[in-house]
């Protein structure tokens, strides 16, 4: 390149402006690139939206001031068992917040997987029934009742998350239903904005009576402050059967167990679709260079640098690809964003979320495809001599 950088930049802007002004003459070819990249997004982004939605639903449920006590070796709260005789020692551990009456904010809870009829697939779906005490409800202020009331202590009553009520049959307010061999009445619908929205919550005492089950699954505690967690953990783990985890760490453990299969499938589909879009981009940019042959020849003849012209070809391709990615992301957002899906490590319901991260991955994918696709015609334009450019015309 014989031109100084400032001049090269000015040349680049001038050539790019010329190219964009004549874009309407190449509208069909340009629309092919936009269409192809939009389709790549429709193939790639929904599974990414599912992954981001599930991760987001777990992280929103995590509160650093809360901790869980599980049995050693338990992979989830549902597979844990807390012996009855451990509860008193847990409640006496340092670092736990106290109510105004001096009670430890520690709640022994149940988690039982339950099958309910999925309204979409008309097959059994899986979700969780959590047995929670009054202290548990006090520790979870994000449970906001949309209708009805909380379950009364000792009664066979449940409240359903709003996503669970949408997804499964038989969860309308005041409905009577059978779960775990007992009859329960739905007395409320709640919303938390997290993975809990796909679950059902009952009174822990009622669940204990219904199941004749002496041992709880886990204990949830509220800490005085997140900094008190280490003191609490030391005290709890004196009992070698128990472990303590901050709630964010527990959900991080669940997130790490999310299968990579959907992401592998998404990226493979994205790659195959992207390769198709790549060939379309190569062809479109060759056609663009061919259509602008006279213009490029004149620009080269009057002293414009080949690199500036080549860069403008790449820029045009990346602009079209970016528009295609935006269009595709918009289609995916309208199609799947907020859609409830029965899934997750322990069942439940989460929402697909088209997050900024998903949109950025889409944009990045499109820009890389455009960059690779525009390189051959750009290099051809950049390396050609003025005589070659005039001859091509």
């Amino acid at each position: 390149m014989n031109t100084n950088p400032k001049t090269a930049m000015r040349q680049f802007f001038a050539v790019t402006a010329l190219g964009l002004r004549s874009l309407h003459t190449r509208i069909a070819n340009s629309l092919v690139v936009i269409f192809a990249l939009a389709v790549v997004m429709v193939g790639l982004l929904p599974l990414l939206a599912a992954s981001d939605g599930l991760i987001s639903s777990y992280t929103r449920a995590a509160n650093p001031s809360r901790a869980l006590v599980l049995s050693v070796g338990a992979a989830t709260d549902g597979s844990s068992t807390i012996p009855q005789n451990s509860l008193k020692s847990i409640e006496k551990s340092p670092g736990i917040a106290r109510t105004r009456d001096g009670l430890a904010m520690a709640d022994a809870e149940f988690f039982r997987p339950v099958k309910l009829l999925n309204l979409t697939t008309e097959e059994d779906g899986l979700t969780g029934l959590i047995g929670m005490g009054p202290i548990g409800f006090a520790m979870t202020p994000e449970i906001r009742l949309l209708s009805g009331r909380l379950p009364h202590a000792g009664n066979a009553e449940i409240i359903a998350g709003d996503l669970a009520e949408r997804k499964f049959a038989g969860l309308a307010l005041n409905t009577q239903m059978r779960l775990l061999g007992a009859s329960w009445r739905v007395v409320g619908i709640f919303h938390t904005g997290s993975i809990l929205d796909g679950d059902l919550i009952a009174d822990a005492t009622a669940m204990k009576l219904m199941q004749n089950q002496p041992d709880y699954n886990f204990v949830m505690v509220k800490l005085d402050s997140p900094a008190q967690f280490e003191n609490f953990r030391h005290a709890v783990t004196v009992d070698k059967r128990l472990i303590a985890l901050k709630q964010p760490d527990y959900y991080l453990m669940l997130i790490r167990r999310i299968p990579v299969t959907p992401l592998v499938v998404a990226y493979t589909l994205g790659l195959l679709l992207g390769m198709g879009a790549l060939s379309g981009t190569v062809h479109t940019m060759y056609a663009a260079v061919s259509a602008r042959a006279r213009e490029i020849a004149i620009l080269r003849a009057i002293g414009f640098d080949g690199a500036a012209v080549a860069a403008s070809v790449v820029f045009e391709a990346m602009l079209l690809a970016s528009l295609g990615a935006l269009l595709g992301t918009l289609i995916v957002w309208l199609w799947v964003d907020g859609h409830p899906w029965n899934g997750g490590i322990q069942g439940g319901v989460f929402r697909f979320l088209v997050t900024p991260h998903v949109a950025l991955v889409g944009q990045g994918w499109a820009l890389v495809t455009a960059l690779i696709g525009a390189l051959p015609p750009a290099l051809k334009t950049g390396r050609a001599t003025v005589i070659d450019a005039l001859r091509d015309r």
Binding site: A36, V39, T261, T268, L269, L273, S279, G280, H283, A287
Partner: protein
């Protein structure tokens, strides 16, 4: 007229369009093969339950997307090729070649790389599926999809049909071209 040598000469003269149709067909039919094969493996473990119907709907949608992309990309390549070669095609018309024969030649130049690309793409999809089953956690528990003979039997004619659909609009252009005006442009 020597059909095959004519097409071969045209492909050699301007291979870029044929290469692009070939690569588009390769990856789009690989996508179709992977989607349908993966759907078959997953549906087999559902034993025809409702999940199978959902899976079939998803894989068929992906296959339809693949066909839509290859049709659009082939149309783009054929359109550009016809636009560049209008003088040559007009001369053929002036020499007495029927419009139908010229359209058949255009379609053949699109169909040849499309069919070859589709065949290789379907073979590639088999390789990708086997790699999937090997790499995915517990992938060895999924049944290996059978050799996609039925897929070849429908995929290759589909590639020919795609070339036909993609060539339709450029073919209309040829049929409506006025020989005198096109020849006048050559001066």
């Amino acid at each position: 007229m020597k059909f095959v040598p004519f097409i071969w000469a045209a492909l050699r003269r301007k291979p870029v369009h044929a290469v692009l149709i070939f690569t588009s067909a390769l990856f789009c039919f690989a996508l179709i093969g992977v989607a349908l094969g993966a759907g078959h493996s997953l549906a087999a473990i559902d034993h025809g339950g409702r999940q199978s119907a959902q899976l079939n709907a998803i894989t068929e949608t992906i296959a339809a997307i693949g066909l839509a992309i290859i049709t659009v990309l082939t149309w783009n390549a054929v359109s550009h090729s016809v636009r560049l070669r209008m003088p040559e095609l007009t001369i053929l018309k002036a020499l007495g070649y029927s419009t139908g024969l010229i359209i058949t030649l255009i379609w053949s130049e699109a169909a040849a790389p499309s069919v070859v690309g589709a065949a290789m793409g379907l073979l590639l999809s088999r390789g990708i599926l086997l790699l999937f089953l090997h790499l995915l956690p517990r992938g060895d528990m999924l049944p290996v999809p059978p050799w996609p003979l039925a897929l070849f039997a429908t995929g290759l004619p589909a590639a020919v049909l795609v070339a036909g659909i993609a060539s339709a609009i450029p073919a209309l252009r040829i049929s409506r071209a006025d020989v005198a005006s096109e020849l006048a442009r050559l001066r």
